[in-house]
């Protein structure tokens, strides 16, 4: 009996689903299926700290200013224009007329005030609904948001900060429907309502988030009817789904799959360098690392080209400093440190270490923006060994790793930074200004250079982009002479899509702008 049942079960399984190939589910003409590397956690942009939630949430809610499709230079968004007071303390925005939220309520100055104040005012009735993780990082400098008239809103700052416009383009600065927040309360994060190109439809946990096009979108007519986001953690599964045609678009092709995707005629592989920097931090306060000749030597010792070519398989571009090359604040004359072990040995000898020294490198096993941390660090370790620096590698789980960096005990550490936009203030100030030393801020290398500090401060006060650019160029040259870290690379993001997907571009901010897509038959 049991034998027969067993065979019967096996037979039905094979006959039912195995031998008869499944008719490939017909792709509905207007539905785009996107594979994400992890499930979104929360769709209220002010509460989001991860890329995948952002990639979905930013389709729904929008910001006053935004970035064009190819760069992270600030352009008008929900606000059609703005003025900045001479002292740099008042930013006045004129909102576009006639935009409404998906729930039909109008976008007005009150909504802007509501969206920001719920995050920064502890006594705001909706402050306790969310956790607003970046309230202080982004809006700690905002004194008040004032409604001038229904279509004019003014931000008053505590002190001038030229990168404030770039901050207003961040997801946390998204304008949400106050009516919807009042209606849904804590569950707003599950039923977000904004002005964006897509409306929220449904979320089957662990399976998919579905968005539908906003037919009245103010910017342009959206050509895709529906977007289905599927979280698929396993790289091979995501790749298989794309190659078998059940996914239209996937982000994050792991380096080892890049060659395979390039050869496949049914998919298109895209690359785009992102506003990101991967660096090997050096504790600038610990001996012998406090000697700039030692830090220069380490920069000469590491073969960045080999890391980018062999470990990252072309998914990184060599870095000469923290600022993304090709953007307005970057110094075009800056060249990455060349690979020159002989020079490194000479510098070490000058610094009094002809026989090198021993040190420790802390590395997270993984982490957002960390690329292939262990493999990259292993190459760095052997490069440093070749010039006499003995590096002991210690790996940590991500959560443990960032906690450990606040101990100030680090010697060398692998870390990365995604500023989300190209304003140099958003990467150099937090990472390298001496007021930002860990544990208070993210300057985990405990770098201090008074000249550099002053340049960054001056650049914050000026609202003239030309003058700021000049100050930042000077600051970057200081970082070459007095390097805070070993500069490694800027990530080149990858995505792959089916041939029927037209008009898609990766964005340097790591956003995933599927609203530009149209689907061919």
């Amino acid at each position: 009996m049991i034998l027969t049942t067993a065979w019967l079960v096996l037979l039905t399984m094979i006959l039912g689903i195995g031998v008869t190939p499944l008719p490939a589910a017909a792709q509905p003409a207007g539905t785009l299926v996107v594979g994400l590397v992890a499930e979104p956690v929360n769709l209220d942009p002010a509460q989001v700290t991860d890329l995948n939630s952002n990639r979905v949430g930013r389709r729904i809610a929008e910001t006053l200013v935004t970035f064009p499709d190819e760069s992270t230079q600030v352009v008008p968004g929900l606000a059609e224009s703005w003025t900045v007071s001479r002292d740099g303390l008042r930013y006045t925005f004129k909102l576009r007329k006639g935009i409404s939220f998906h729930d039909g309520t109008p976008l007005d100055a009150e909504a802007v005030k509501f969206s920001i104040e719920r995050q920064i005012r502890p006594e705001h009735p909706f402050n306790k609904l969310g956790k607003y993780p970046f309230a202080n990082y982004f809006f700690g400098n905002v004194k008040a948001v004032e409604v001038v008239d229904p279509l004019t809103v003014e931000f008053i700052l505590k002190e001038p900060r030229a990168s404030f416009l770039a901050i207003l383009a961040a997801g946390a600065a998204s304008i949400v429907s106050p009516t919807a927040v009042r209606k849904f309360g804590a569950d707003y994060a599950l039923t977000p309502v904004g002005t964006g190109p897509f409306k929220y439809v449904s979320w089957d946990r662990g399976q998919r988030v579905v968005l539908e096009k906003n037919p009245g979108y103010w910017k342009f007519p959206v050509k895709v009817d529906r977007v289905v986001y599927r979280p698929i953690v396993e790289d091979q599964a995501r790749l298989t789904e794309l190659m078998t045609g059940t996914l239209d678009l996937m982000v994050g092709a792991p380096p080892d799959f890049v060659a395979q995707l390039e050869k496949n005629p049914s998919v298109t592989l895209l690359r785009q360098v992102g506003a990101h920097v991967w660096y090997l931090g050096i504790n600038n306060q610990k001996k012998p690392l406090d000697d700039k000749r030692v830090r220069q030597a380490m920069n000469y010792a590491v073969n960045k080209e080999a890391i980018v070519r062999d470990v990252l398989k072309g998914t990184g571009s060599m870095s000469a400093g923290p600022v993304l090359p090709g953007t307005w604040g970057a110094d075009a004359g800056l060249k990455p440190y060349p690979y020159d072990p002989a020079r490194a040995r000479k510098l070490l000898a000058e610094a009094g270490f002809p026989n090198g020294f021993s040190t420790t490198l802390w590395v997270p096993e993984s982490g957002s923006g960390m690329q292939s941390p262990v493999a990259m660090s292993t190459v760095i370790q052997s490069n440093l060994k070749a010039v006499g620096i003995n590096v002991a590698l210690q790996t940590f789980e991500w959560g443990a790793f960032i906690a450990k960096l606040r101990s100030k005990e680090q010697e060398l550490f692998a870390l990365s930074w995604m500023a989300g936009n190209e304003d140099p203030d958003m990467v150099m100030y937090p990472l390298l200004h001496s007021s930002q030393w860990t544990p208070g801020g993210p300057n985990r290398a405990m770098y201090r250079n008074d000249k550099f500090d002053e340049l960054l401060h001056q650049a914050r006060l000026s609202t003239d982009e030309k003058r700021r650019a000049e100050l930042y160029r000077q600051a970057q040259r200081i970082l070459v002479d007095d390097p805070p870290w070993i500069f490694i690379d800027h990530e080149i993001q990858t995505a792959a899509h089916a041939k029927r997907v037209q008009g898609f571009k990766l964005h340097p901010s790591f956003d995933l702008r599927v609203e530009t897509i149209s689907l061919s038959r």
Partner: protein, 316 residues
């Protein structure tokens, strides 16, 4: 019987309390805290302190535990730190998918395992027996995530017979056929190791039982071989087999974590992995409690099955 059942169910309380204390301690003592992970590398000291206070993580450990326990006894597993949603709803929403997957895997491994074991035992050292021994070695020694990826590459990528991941098609679908198609690869992956264990054990106990006097007697009476094997021998060999099946059920519930992650199966396993990586204490505690509860209940069911297979066993 009823008293026995009541006593066993009552024993659930200390077991679950123990599990919850251990999980709570392990999670809180492991390095890295949720605030750190949620805020990432950009957080300021103020943002960290505010969030820690908001989440109640600034309280001493025992206060946090007692507070959590107070909610649990009222049927409230708390809110996930990260998603800010009630844990109970999240876990129960995912439990169904996990039960479908482990249930199918258990059915597959039990029927196939027993069938293979019986077939091997009745023809020891035959070709089938040797093949099954080899397959067992293979099945028991390869890691499930590797097997899962191999099956995926072969059946989804190369042959195109089965979908690679998920529980239902992203659009359309949603019927039983769609579910079965999506279930096939993860269920086979999950069942692989258990099949071999059950098959080996069945073979061993069946060989022993088939050598017993009463089997010889049955044969001497002229009972057909089929009935000798299935009715006389197998039923008596079932006690150790049922025991190992029960253990395997627990193993499958735990093993589902890997398989679910590989195949993007929306079960408790993927949720738990998310929770662990985010140090989402209430979420992980909720997942573990539910899985532990299922494990204990399966064990109870196994104990009750003993009596059915062997009437000499009675529960007072």
């Amino acid at each position: 019987m009823k008293r026995y059942l009541a006593r066993r169910l009552l024993l659930l309380v200390p077991v679950l309390a123990g599990v919850s204390i251990i999980v709570f301690m392990v999670l809180h003592l492991s390095p890295g805290d949720p605030v750190e992970i949620m805020l990432g590398t950009q957080a300021t000291q103020e943002d960290r302190a505010r969030l820690r206070a908001d989440l109640g993580l600034d309280q001493p450990l025992h206060v946090q535990y007692v507070r959590w326990l107070g909610h649990v006894v009222r049927g409230d597993l708390g809110r996930s730190l990260w998603m800010r949603r009630p844990v109970l709803g999240e876990v129960l929403g995912r439990l169904q998918a996990t039960l479908v997957l482990t249930g199918t895997a258990l059915l597959l491994s039990t029927t196939l395992g027993i069938a293979l074991g019986v077939a091997s035992a009745t023809r020891p050292n035959s070709l089938l027996d040797r093949l099954s021994a080899m397959a067992s070695l293979f099945g028991a020694s390869m890691p499930s995530f590797w097997l899962g990826i191999v099956l995926m590459v072969v059946f989804a990528l190369w042959l195109g017979w089965l979908p690679a991941s998920g529980m239902y098609a992203p659009y359309g679908g949603g019927d039983l056929r769609d579910l079965l198609a999506h279930l096939a690869l993860p269920a086979v992956t999950l069942a692989a190791a258990s099949v071999t264990i059950i098959a080996r054990l069945t073979r061993a106990t069946m060989l022993e039982t088939l050598g017993q006097d009463y089997v010889r007697t049955a044969r001497a009476k002229g009972v057909v071989e089929r009935a000798v094997v299935l009715r006389h021998a197998l039923k008596n060999a079932m006690i150790p087999i049922i025991t190992v099946v029960g253990v395997q059920a627990g193993y499958l519930l735990g093993g589902a974590v890997l398989t679910e992650t590989v195949f993007a199966w929306p079960g408790v396993g993927t949720l738990m992995v998310q929770g662990i990586l985010a140090r989402d204490f209430p979420l992980v505690q909720g997942c573990v409690l539910v899985v532990a509860l299922s494990f204990v209940l399966v064990n109870l069911a196994v104990d009750l099955l003993y009596a059915w297979f062997d009437p000499r066993i009675r529960y007072e």
